[in-house]
């Protein structure tokens, strides 16, 4: 079986400007920050980012790498409004496809299932329809005749996710309470890159954890990166909680100044 381990820089060397990238996690939780950091060090730009947004979106927005964002929100959780995202939006810095959290999930499901769309009872009556004039509706072919939004598949060129453990073949394990949507991101993508706190032998994965924790299947994974502390400063339960002090520093420091420190090769782990 193939060994898919690689470095974060090797992952980024496979990404191209103009790609559609899905980023796993949720808000400021289990974000693949080591991979995002490597991406920020590269020249890759003009990206369409698909994410339940947190500091990943804030940083890429601040660095001017986003052409279009697909999201239902961007937040740092303990700091409700993401300051860099906010500044970029108020400057009209990129195109936004603002859809509801459930529409987003069903868009990933559609992509993972190779369907063009899935019907969702969400969006109708709201301004999600006004700001996304491309969204179409579909009427039930059965007796009820109800009209739904046909959420288009959110197909991705590449997905970046971070989990607690993985083996060298790309089987990924989460040990916290919430899988978020990381498996769906991988299934919805042509290529998926998985960073993890620790690469272990396959047999190790289920020694102490239930098999249900094996969230991500190797058939959906292209590359595995061992990145201890690789979600920092976002949370990665149960390995570590969010580093609130570091997040506050990020939120209150002008981006160029923060980036100089944050992107230095020696800074942080997993890079």
């Amino acid at each position: 079986m193939s060994d898919k381990t690689m470095t974060a820089d090797e992952v980024v060397s496979r990404l191209r400007s103009g790609m559609t990238l899905g980023i796993g996690g949720w808000g400021s939780r289990r974000k693949p920050m080591a991979l995002v950091r490597a991406l920020l060090r590269s020249e890759v730009t003009d990206l369409t980012i698909v994410a339940y947004g947190g500091p990943d979106v804030g940083m890429l927005a601040a660095a001017g790498r986003i052409r279009k964002l697909v999201a239902a929100f961007v937040t740092l959780d303990s700091i409700p409004l993401e300051p860099h995202y906010r500044a970029a939006r108020e400057a009209g810095a990129f195109e936004l496809m603002e859809i509801d959290e459930a529409m987003f999930m069903w868009g990933l499901h559609a992509a993972a299932n190779r369907l063009p769309f899935l019907p969702v009872r969400a969006g109708l009556g709201s301004d999600v329809m006004r700001v996304n004039p491309g969204l179409r509706t579909v009427t039930s072919p059965y007796d009820d005749g109800e009209t739904f939004v046909a959420v288009p598949a959110l197909r991705l060129d590449a997905a970046l996710v971070h989990v607690n453990r993985a083996d060298r073949q790309g089987n990924g394990q989460y040990l916290g309470p919430d899988p978020y949507f990381d498996d769906l991101f991988c299934e919805a993508a042509d290529t998926a890159y998985l960073s993890c706190e620790r690469v272990v032998d396959t047999a190790e994965l289920t020694k102490e954890a239930a098999p249900q924790s094996l969230l991500i299947g190797r058939h959906t994974v292209t590359g595995v990166v061992e990145a201890p502390n690789g979600a920092h400063f976002t949370s990665c339960a149960p390995d570590y909680a969010r580093d609130e002090a570091a997040q506050r520093e990020y939120a209150t420091t002008p981006w160029p100044e923060f980036a100089e420190r944050y992107l230095a090769p020696s800074e942080g782990a997993g890079s």
Binding site: F73, E98, V120, S126, V128, F181
Partner: protein, 238 residues
């Protein structure tokens, strides 16, 4: 001891979940959270609640279930949930905005984003909590419809906005055209004060009752068990 405004707000929020049975109570904001926990400890014991993350927990914190985001979103569309969301803007028909202020294409102030408001309002009862009632929040027309109001909900089979609670009173939509009605004022608040702080014509009945008093047991639960640090007074002062 006199009952504080924050405590009347807790009671008004708790009442939102009365009679809801075995559904998930999703309070957003501190006073709604105190209210939901009070409701579960008293008149709505069958409510389900999360720990704020992916676990369903009992009154004493015992884990009783697993509700990660994906299952939470499925629960929303199944309808067995009553959420109380915040609102940066809300209008007379209950349209709610938490996305941005100003023109969406280039907002004056970017806020959270639509989040789950569109799916919530079409699938499960959605109430709202506004800790500072003002004309900036209670507006003639919201800048971005996130939560769907009654005038945009034609034919939506599961749309319902049971109530809006603010620091001044309780509001509902029990009018022929579903425009917002003043249901009660918190003790110490006048109808004129509510009108003055509202940016549209509120329906005001001839007799406006006061929000009910908490019982002694409820007050004790709020003060000694649920919120002994009195965090509620930081969300709504006196």
């Amino acid at each position: 001891m006199t009952v504080t405004r924050a405590e009347y707000c807790v009671i008004a929020c708790a009442e939102a979940w009365r009679g809801d049975g075995e559904v998930l109570a999703s309070p957003m904001g501190l006073i709604p959270a105190v209210g939901a926990r009070l409701a579960r400890r008293t008149f709505s014991p069958d409510l389900l609640m999360t720990d704020g993350e992916a676990l369903l927990v009992g009154v004493d914190g015992t884990v009783e279930g697993w509700l990660p985001y994906r299952r939470h979103l499925a629960l929303v569309t199944g309808g067995r949930r009553h959420v109380m969301m915040g609102a940066s803007q809300i209008d007379r028909y209950g349209n709610q905005n938490i996305s941005c202020i100003g023109d969406w294409a280039r907002p004056k102030r970017q806020l959270l984003g639509v989040r789950g408001a569109p799916v919530n309002t079409l699938n499960n009862p959605t109430s709202y909590w506004v800790p500072r009632h003002s004309r900036r929040v209670f507006v003639e027309k919201v800048d971005m419809v996130c939560g769907v109001g009654y005038d945009h909900a034609d034919g939506a089979p599961y749309h319902r906005i049971p109530r809006v609670v603010s620091d001044l009173g309780v509001f509902d939509f029990a009018t022929p055209d579903h425009s917002m009605r003043l249901a009660s004022v918190h003790p110490g608040v006048t109808v004129a004060q509510v009108r003055e702080a509202t940016g549209f014509d509120l329906v005001v009945p001839d007799e406006v009752p006061c929000t009910r008093q908490p019982t002694d047991r409820e007050l004790r639960l709020i003060r000694e068990v649920i919120d002994p640090q009195n965090a509620r007074s930081r969300e709504v002062g006196d």
